[in-house]
């Protein structure tokens, strides 16, 4: 006979009690393991979505704001291991329409790809070049055969594969925000292609750079087809259209492309041309000039070039509206329209004396003759610079004529002056009349001007000092249009080499993005659904543990005399405890095994709900149920430990008694020592009173209708709950130990019985109260559907419409000029105000995206336009105007995005790469409460353009319009900007979508909490049964003393139902206080019928379980318990 034998005997002999304990543990294990498998399933599904999104690609090379040579792909490939694929891609956005005008889809991701791209598909067989194309009757890849991904394909809903018209923006050499960037309205390129089939996820149809769980709408076009049209004006000189803005790298067969080798290959392969930099020999001198495709030399390039030779001559050539003579007595024309003026450092050119002042000007002979001016005369230059939203800001500057330069040499057609860069719309114009500089031509162009243009093209007519030029015309793109090097000192080849060595690929705007690593990091959802469901299932876990703990305790208490006997026989307390806990461990292990099996059902049910009724929490994603071994082990071990700890805790007092007491007292060992506890009970009353005063104070100082009332009253409700629990403790004490009045009726006896097992009664009441409170009161945080979008302080910020366009809109749509440009109906839009925002694409950090946002979207906003809109949890829009140390940029963020998606707080910083690949920090300075701004960071527009100078225009719009006009304005603007792919939606709908996520989380919490509560009523039933069984002798005595069995049943029911009502009552009253703002102040959503029906269900269940327990125990006479004596 060993101790194990005793344990085995106990397990078998007390099998009924042990089975009950095991079921409690099983329930706990089921919930724990099940919740963890929910996390597994979400992670696994997100991982599969990410895999489908990036296919077999490991890295991506992006030209942040420009285009590089397609040849770069081949050059990089040559430096990488065999088996690597480097696919050049052109990424653009566009709109698709059907030729008969019956359908239109805006904001489509357009991908120009070649066959290499498809080699990186998750399964090449399903791609347009795969083996399955024959089965699908797909035509050969190339020509005008376009493929849509399945999502776009469904949306286009073409009855038969037919033709579609794609419209995309023709890329500009440099930002259309920039001065002299050419035409004011966008240039579009149209494609008429044949929609040849839908590309599935396996065929790479879900490809996307952003870590979003929903695939973008994508149209795939053969790369050369796209390039030929899109880049037709890009390099007219060489007639080269082979450009790309994206490379995809991967090893489709085996292994992966390492980030280091890819970077190394890029650094060796990229050329200045890829960065849009050219070394241009000059015609008139032996010098040569460093030029940029974007016209203005960006600061990195300027710095690098000047570091090679400090004596390099910077040139800034700009188009002025007029050169005007201020000399009224002269005999010239007084005004030369539209001329180039070059600014140059006088110390670095021979034709200007070194002591040239910044208010002095030199005109060429042609201009001198035309104006009829002489040295010393006053000359005024008038010009346009580009202000906010491409508004032309007129500027003038007076100079004193100090010198005359000879007339420039003649220049053949198609070429340009050494001094002047290739301004789009200007340099390629045949005549002055063809100029398309983006500025209004208000001065009359004379024949002599045309003649000058024909002869000298854009040769400057005036020169000023570089200092003066920079003061007038420096902009965010740069302050030089060229940098001249002397061939006597340098050769162009050496300069090119040195420049490349001084610049990194990043500075050239070529940035690697580790797609696979990002995808992996992104699948670590900001919301760990395993943990989420664990916390949501807390009540179920507590109820299950309470059930297991209580049943185990009851089983052990039944054997108090056995424990006493073992101690009396000389076994140490440690050994007896070991016996008890070993038995508990065996039972728990059995329970965990059962629970492990049940966890599959529980987990699958949760996943089904997430894909069904609770899909609002996961934006409609469908999950596959997946199980990881570590979740089963982790959950099982946790359940085992928790149940053992619960058992150890609940039986901790047993062996504190002497063996004699255990032998004699049997299971009634733990009855209260009334006098000892008297002080504690009085203390409970004091606590209760203090907490109640706290509740009164909170209620008196919190406005029902104010923002934050929900939180304030939730706090007050929680304090009231505690106060109620403490009061109940006092009440129990009063009933059992503090009473002064003697019994008046049998009912008094019933009340007093509640206090006999103070701990048991208190735990039962408190858990019911807490459960009721939490489940009901969290309903107060459910957001009601916004009634009106017009309130500026609401989650819509007073904007009725919100939208994005595929292509940038550059002009101010509120101003007369902008409305005229886009032919907008002024009277229709008289009550409409459009707040445009600049957009830097990134990951959606809203709660609609389950992936972790690695690089959230950034919007550039004008804080003045947003002032007074939205409610802030912290700070306001004015914080965006703050100047932060170390060049940090302030950002406003939605509170939910900050807390849940980004896991940040106010003051936290997030790092980004700017347009030149430099790291900069964005600091969160203000948080907006529950708004349509979720999912992105909002930084000041001026800082945005500083960091992303090449990114022009606005793609996101917040539109304030009276509700009655909303549908009309929405369809009008969508129609007017159909070429731009503008898609607007009502902000209320957007807000509701976002709130739906939050509300669904609360619904899940309430659902699982409610389930826990319902299980909690089972615990109540067990407590009732146990209490009654313990008191069978008493009931027998009372029967012997003449009490009727039905009276005893009614007394027992009344005693326990009172206990349940205390729990439900305290919980409900506290919950009602917590939801008071929703009920009275209309803040949040009134829980409504769910609250009432849940409460009624609880009351009925409590009633039912107590009735059943009482009937079960007292169904027959208890007198036999006396007879057994």
């Amino acid at each position: 006979m060993s101790l194990w034998r005793i344990i085995l005997n106990n397990l078998f002999y007390f099998r009924r009690q042990n089975l009950g304990v095991a079921l409690g543990v099983a329930l706990c294990a089921m919930v724990l393991i099940g919740a963890l498998t929910v996390g597994d399933s979400v992670r696994s599904t997100l991982s599969k979505i990410a895999e489908a999104r990036i296919g077999k690609a490991d890295m991506a090379l992006l030209a942040t704001d420009g285009f590089f040579r397609e040849e770069l792909a081949k050059e990089i490939l040559r430096k990488l291991a065999s088996g690597t694929v480097v696919a050049p891609v052109v990424v653009s956005r566009g709109t698709i329409s059907l030729p008969d005008g019956s359908g239109r889809v805006g904001n489509v991701q357009v991908l120009g790809v070649d066959e290499d791209f498809w080699k990186l598909a998750p399964n090449i067989a399903h791609s347009p070049i795969g083996s399955r194309t024959d089965e699908k009757n797909w035509p050969e890849w190339g020509g005008d055969n376009f493929y849509a991904n399945d999502r776009l394909y469904k949306l286009l809903n073409l009855p038969d594969l037919g033709r579609i018209i794609l419209r995309i923006e023709e890329p500009s050499l440099f930002s259309r925000d920039a001065p002299l960037s050419g035409e004011r309205d966008n240039k579009f390129v149209s494609f008429n292609g044949k929609l040849s089939g839908p590309v599935s996820a396996d065929g790479f149809g879900h490809f996307g750079i952003q870590g979003n769980q929903r695939e973008p709408l994508t149209l795939f076009i053969p790369l050369s087809t796209l390039q030929n049209r899109m880049f037709r004006s890009f390099d007219k000189e060489k007639e080269n259209t082979n450009f790309a803005n994206f490379l995809l790298l991967g090893k489709p067969e085996l292994g992966s492309v390492s980030e280091e080798s890819a970077r190394l290959a890029l650094e060796e392969s990229w050329t200045l041309e890829d960065a849009g930099v050219t070394i241009q020999p000059l015609r008139d001198t032996s010098d040569f000039s460093v030029r940029a495709r974007q016209v203005f030399l960006n600061p990195s390039l300027e710095k690098a070039a000047q570091s090679i030779d400090l004596n390099a001559t910077g040139v800034l050539t700009y188009l002025v509206n007029s050169i005007r003579s201020n000399n009224l007595e002269g005999n010239g024309t007084r005004l030369i329209p539209y001329s180039m003026v070059s600014a140059v450092d006088p110390k670095k050119v021979l034709f200007m004396p070194e002591d040239w002042e910044k208010d002095e000007i030199m005109l060429n002979q042609w201009a001198i003759d035309d104006l009829g001016v002489k040295i010393g005369d006053s000359i005024t230059l008038s010009y346009f610079s580009v202000g906010e939203r491409r508004k032309l800001v007129k500027g003038t500057k007076k100079f004193t004529l100090r010198g005359v330069s000879p007339n420039p040499p003649a220049i053949v057609k198609g070429e340009e002056s050494d001094w002047t860069p290739q301004y789009p719309g200007l340099s390629d114009a045949e005549t002055c009349g063809e100029w398309d500089t983006g500025i209004p031509i208000t001065h009359k162009i004379r024949p002599k001007d045309e003649e000058y243009w024909n002869q000298h093209r854009g040769s400057p007519k005036a020169y000023i000092s570089l200092q003066a030029g920079k003061e007038l015309w420096t902009n965010r793109w740069g302050s030089l249009t060229g940098l001249r090097f002397s061939r006597e000192i340098h050769s162009p080849e050496i300069i090119e080499k040195k420049l490349k060595n001084l610049m990194t690929a990043k500075q050239a705007g070529l940035i690697f993005q580790p797609l696979r690593a990002d995808a992996k990091a992104g699948t670590d959802s900001p919301v760990d659904f395993g943990q989420l469901f664990l916390s949501f299932s807390l009540f179920v876990i507590i109820a299950a543990l309470a059930l297991a703990g209580m049943l185990f305790t009851f089983s052990i208490e039944q054997r108090n005399n056995q424990a006493g006997l073992l101690l009396a026989l000389g076994l140490s307390k440690k050994k007896v405890r070991l016996l008890v806990l070993s038995e508990g461990l065996c039972v728990s292990l059995f329970g965990v095994l059962i629970g492990g099996g049940l966890a599959f059902i529980y987990g699958q049910s949760m996943i089904s709900l997430l894909s069904g009724d609770w899909s609002g929490a996961v934006s409609g994603t469908t999950f596959e149920y997946t199980i990881q071994v570590q979740s089963i082990l982790g959950g099982g071990i946790a359940a085992l430990l928790m149940s053992i700890c619960t058992m150890a805790w609940s039986t901790r007092k047993q062996l504190k008694f002497e063996p004699r007491e255990l032998l004699l007292a049997g299971e009634n060992l733990n009855l209260s020592n009334f006098k000892q506890k008297k002080k504690k009970w009085n203390r409970s009353f004091c606590f209760s009173l203090l907490l109640f005063i706290g509740v009164v104070v909170v209620c008196l100082t919190t406005d029902f209708r104010a923002a934050g009332a929900s939180e304030g009253y939730f706090g007050a409700g929680a304090i009231l709950l505690l106060s109620g629990i403490f009061y109940f403790r006092y009440y129990l004490g009063k009933k059992i130990g503090l009473q002064t009045a003697v019994l008046k009726s049998a009912q008094d006896l019933s009340n007093r019985n509640m206090g006999r097992r103070t701990g048991r009664s208190l735990v039962t009441m408190a858990s019911m109260a807490a459960g009721t409170f939490l489940v009901v009161s969290t309903g107060a945080f459910r957001k009601g559907s916004p009634v009106s979008s017009e309130n500026p302080l609401s989650g819509t910020g007073g904007f009725s419409l919100i939208g994005e366009s595929a292509l940038s809109v550059y002009d101010d749509l509120n101003g007369a000029a902008g409305r005229e440009l886009y032919d907008l109906n002024e009277s229709l839009l008289q009550n409409t105000h459009i707040v445009p925002m600049r957009l830097r694409e990134g990951d959606d950090a809203s709660c609609l995206n389950l992936n972790k946002a690695i690089r959230p979207k950034i919007y550039g906003v004008n804080p003045n336009e947003m002032a007074g809109r939205f409610s802030f949890a912290d700070g306001d829009w004015s914080k965006l105007k703050r100047r932060l140390p170390n060049g940090k940029i302030p950002a406003v963020v939605d509170q939910n995005t900050m807390m849940w998606a980004l896991k940040k707080g106010i003051g936290s910083e997030i790092q980004f790469l700017d347009g030149e690949g430099r790291i900069f920090s964005v600091q969160l300075v203000a948080a907006v409460k529950g708004s349509i701004l979720q999912g992105a960071l909002y930084i000041p527009e001026d800082k945005f353009v500083q960091k992303f100078p090449q990114q022009g225009g606005y793609r996101s719009f917040l539109i304030s319009v009276p509700i009655s006009e909303t549908p009309k304005i929405q369809s009008y603007l969508e129609d007017k900007f159909s070429n731009y792919g503008m898609e607007l939606s009502e902000s209320i709908i957007r807000l509701s979508e976002l709130q739906k996520v939050e509300n669904t989380y609360l619904l899940i919490f309430q659902g699982l909490g409610g389930l826990g509560m319902l299980l909690g009523t089972v615990v109540l039933a067990v407590v009732v049964a146990r209490n009654l069984i313990e008191r069978s002798g008493e009931f027998g005595t009372m029967e012997a003393l003449g009490y009727r069995l039905k009276d005893l049943r009614s007394l027992a029911f009344s005693e326990h139902f009172t206990l349940a009502l205390w729990g439900l009552g305290v919980g409900a009253i506290s919950a009602f206080l917590a939801i008071a703002p929703a009920v009275v102040g209309k803040v949040g959503q009134f829980p409504g019928k769910e609250f009432i029906s849940f409460f009624i269900l609880l009351v009925f269940l409590s009633f039912g379980w107590i009735k059943i327990s009482v009937y079960f125990v007292l169904r027959k006479s208890q007198i036999e318990h006396l007879q057994y004596e």
Binding site: K744, S745, A746, R756, T1037, L1041, G1042, I1119, Q1123
Partner: protein
């Protein structure tokens, strides 16, 4: 003397664990007691003394035979009538006192009066309980709880409780079983005094010949038969 308690051919048997045969506790027991008399039943353990007392007190049903108390057959009682009979006509003292631990001494005494059959309520009830406690010598302990008094005192509380509804018949099942000699004597003296003072019919089950001697009659229960000695 007026006949108060009459047992006629009272038999009690239980099904055996094997199920086939029945275990006979006693058979055809007859007994008569006049009002205000006292009697002791003695006999070896397991002879059925307590079972007989339970049948008389309507705590159990006989297999056959009749129990007449004050001319009424208890076998015809419904469950409610049995309860009322126990409450109003019988005072039961158990070997183990069976006091309610959550109630004070005086409350324990009052418990039978709260069953809903008697007329005693409020102050009247309190007064009665106090008087009874004075009678059993526990007026100084009336606000103590059972855990705070001695075994002898507990049993005296049980006596007071048995008397609260002024029963006609006091049944005591080895009331001194858990008491020492001195406390036993005190308790039996009290029961005898009450028997004489209140004209209560007293039937006591005991192993003690000394106690049996103090009763007016003594019966021996042995070999399933009851016989006067």
């Amino acid at each position: 003397m007026e006949l108060f308690l009459k047992l006629t051919d009272l038999s009690k048997s239980y099904p055996s664990p094997e199920g086939e045969e029945r275990v006979n506790v006693f058979s055809e027991v007859n007994l008569e007691m006049s009002k205000g008399s006292s009697a002791a039943i003695v006999g070896p353990s397991g002879s059925g003394k307590s079972t007989l007392l339970n049948l008389i007190g309507s705590l159990d049903k006989p297999t056959s035979g009749e129990v007449y108390v004050n001319g009424q057959s208890t076998g015809e009682f419904t469950a409610d009538e049995s309860s009322e009979f126990r409450n109003q006509s019988i005072g039961f003292i158990f070997q183990s006192h069976h006091l309610l631990p959550q109630c004070t001494v005086i409350e324990n005494v009052m418990v039978p009066a709260l069953a809903g059959f008697g007329n005693l309520t409020g102050k009247e009830l309190h007064q009665s309980a106090t008087e009874l406690l004075e009678k059993v010598g526990l007026s100084h302990r009336m606000n103590h709880r059972p855990a705070e008094i001695s075994g002898g005192e507990k049993q005296r509380v049980a006596v007071a409780r048995a008397l609260i509804n002024q029963p006609d018949l006091l049944l005591a099942d080895e009331p001194t079983g858990a008491l020492d000699k001195a406390n036993s004597k005190k308790l039996i003296d009290l029961l005898v005094d009450l028997n004489q003072a209140l004209a209560l019919t007293l039937l006591i089950v005991t192993h003690s010949p000394e106690i049996a001697k103090q009763m007016k009659a003594t019966y021996l229960m042995d070999e399933a038969k009851l016989a006067e000695i």
